[in-house]
């Protein structure tokens, strides 16, 4: 994560549209971003779960990784040196969740990797994108070309009516399944479309040339089912979906095992797999697959109504002096109409149903370890 406080805020290609729609703007990862529109976080959240929400995520980094050999498999093999995922196994037209690991087994960032047939398309977090690009160049430049697609916007269309809204502009999308990805013509614009998102809902992420972004977004917002949604609801939606926010729920000190992301590390990269190891921190990460880790990321449901927010210390009981863990994300879940949180606990205390206590304003509030997602996801598998 880089501190951006001293540089002027950057704007996405949709900045003017946000202002015209009454967005309240806040600094986020160096960008002036909409935190909410006139409807407010609660209504924006509920609208996304009921109909469809449109998010500007153009601050995120979009990169092309292309092997000098011209073979996508060589780009995939190269990227496997930096991530614990099976990249070679991503079929053309498919996308997969991945993380850049460091030598301690911690995570430098999380990202999406798509196979576009002759190259890989990567989407990384805004706050890490310069470092990620430098990391790719430092380690993969011998075998690959790395191109930053800074001239593209990125939008997400999420919710049960996302498909019908997008299908009006691109009939093709109805046949896509969760994590399908590739170039599509949308409203006569050359886009990259994936059926994915960060809300737990069915939906799409659309990369669009910057100079066409406003035309595309305006066309989508012409549909009364679609409302613009700010970063506030994006956060409450992803929290209810149990999805990690990089820099909060996972960071350079958390491994994929500690982060409860074992599902994201395919067997072929684990001990005994055909391409086991070979990524930074493999010794530590693979040992944790065998031996377990001392701590684990869990979902947490406060018993009461008070939200328990990021940074709150967790305790084994109502009086013990020593904290046993920490809340890494927490707030109010509008769809649950209840507070929800995530945090790290000793693995021995991480079973669903275990009661722990968070310190909030000097009081110990009980929470229960809960299964995630808190709200069932509705992906089109």
């Amino acid at each position: 994560m880089r501190a951006h406080e001293n540089s002027p805020l950057k704007q996405t290609p949709l900045h003017a549209l946000h202002l015209a729609r009454g967005a309240k703007m806040v600094p986020f990862a160096g960008y002036d971003m909409p935190v909410q529109y006139t409807a407010g976080v609660l209504k924006e959240h509920l609208h996304t779960r009921k109909d469809a929400g449109l998010f500007d995520v153009s601050h995120m980094g979009q990169l092309v990784l292309k092997a000098k050999s011209g073979k996508v498999a060589d780009a995939a093999l190269a990227l496997e040196k930096l991530v614990p995922q099976d990249i070679v196994g991503i079929a053309p037209g498919r996308q997969r969740y991945a993380q850049f690991s460091n030598n301690d087994g911690g995570l430098l960032d999380d990202l999406m990797v798509a196979n576009f047939g002759d190259h890989l398309f990567l989407v990384v977090n805004a706050a890490c994108k310069e470092e990620d690009e430098a990391h790719l160049r430092a380690h993969l430049s011998d075998a690959c070309e790395i191109v930053s697609l800074a001239d593209r916007a990125l939008i997400a269309l999420q919710g049960p009516k996302a498909e019908s809204a997008l299908a009006k502009l691109c009939a093709d999308v109805s046949s896509m399944k969760f994590m399908d990805a590739g170039p599509r013509r949308v409203a006569d614009i050359d886009c990259f479309v994936s059926r994915s998102g960060y809300t737990g809902e069915d939906g799409f992420e659309i990369s669009v040339p910057a100079d066409k972004a406003e035309v595309l977004v305006t066309a989508l917002l012409d549909n009364p089912d679609v409302l613009p949604i700010g970063l506030g609801a994006r956060d409450s939606l992803r929290l209810e979906a149990g999805l990690c926010l990089y820099g909060h729920d996972i960071d350079t000190t958390t491994t994929p095992v500690e982060g409860a992301l074992e599902w994201s590390v395919q067997k072929v990269r684990r001990s005994g797999g055909a391409r086991a190891g070979g990524f930074p921190g493999a010794d530590k990460i693979l040992a944790q697959f065998t031996d377990g880790a001392a701590r684990r990321r869990v979902g947490l449901k406060p018993d009461g109504r008070a939200p328990v927010r990021e940074g709150a210390s967790l305790f084994a009981d109502a009086t013990s002096a020593e904290p046993i863990g920490k809340v890494t994300s927490g707030g109010f879940g509008p769809s649950l109409n209840a507070p929800v949180a995530m945090g790290y606990l000793p693995t021995a205390l991480s079973a669903v149903g275990t009661t722990v206590f968070a310190e909030v304003r000097g009081q110990r509030l009980p929470l229960k370890v809960a299964a995630t997602p808190f709200v069932p996801n509705t992906y089109k598998r």
């Binding site: 506030g232 609801a233 109504r305 008070a306 927010r309």
Partner: protein, 121 residues
């Protein structure tokens, strides 16, 4: 009955030696949808500027400070069951707590309605 305001966007309705305290409509519009309110305990002595209550939106928690010194004599239990009252009726049904005023001299430092309107303009 007089209504006074603070620069932190609280209102106080003064009736005799009792002040009823809430947050202004401007404050609720800035906070967004209120999902939780934590109120002080009845009987607690509050010093002026001390954190007295907490109002939480989906995004964030905000402190409500005691605008004057006094003892809490009543709190609005309705807010526990229906925090959204703060959004729908900030200046009325969504009062937070009542204080027995310790020092009426402190009221002199507060704003009247016209001054508060100018403050938020």
């Amino acid at each position: 009955m007089t209504t006074l305001y603070t620069s932190d966007h609280e209102w106080l309705r003064i009736e005799g030696d009792v002040a009823t305290i809430g947050i202004t409509d401007y404050a609720q519009s800035q906070l967004g949808d209120v999902v939780f309110v934590e109120l002080p305990k009845v009987g607690r002595s509050l010093k002026k500027a001390e954190a007295a209550a907490v109002v939480e939106s989906v995004k964030a928690a905000s402190d409500v400070y005691a605008p004057i010194t006094g003892e809490v004599i009543e709190v609005n239990e309705a807010l526990a069951a229906e925090p959204a009252l703060v959004n729908s009726d900030a200046g009325g049904k969504a009062w937070f707590f009542k204080l027995k005023i310790s020092d009426k001299g402190e009221l002199g430092g507060l704003m009247d309605e016209a001054a508060y309107a100018a403050h938020t303009a």
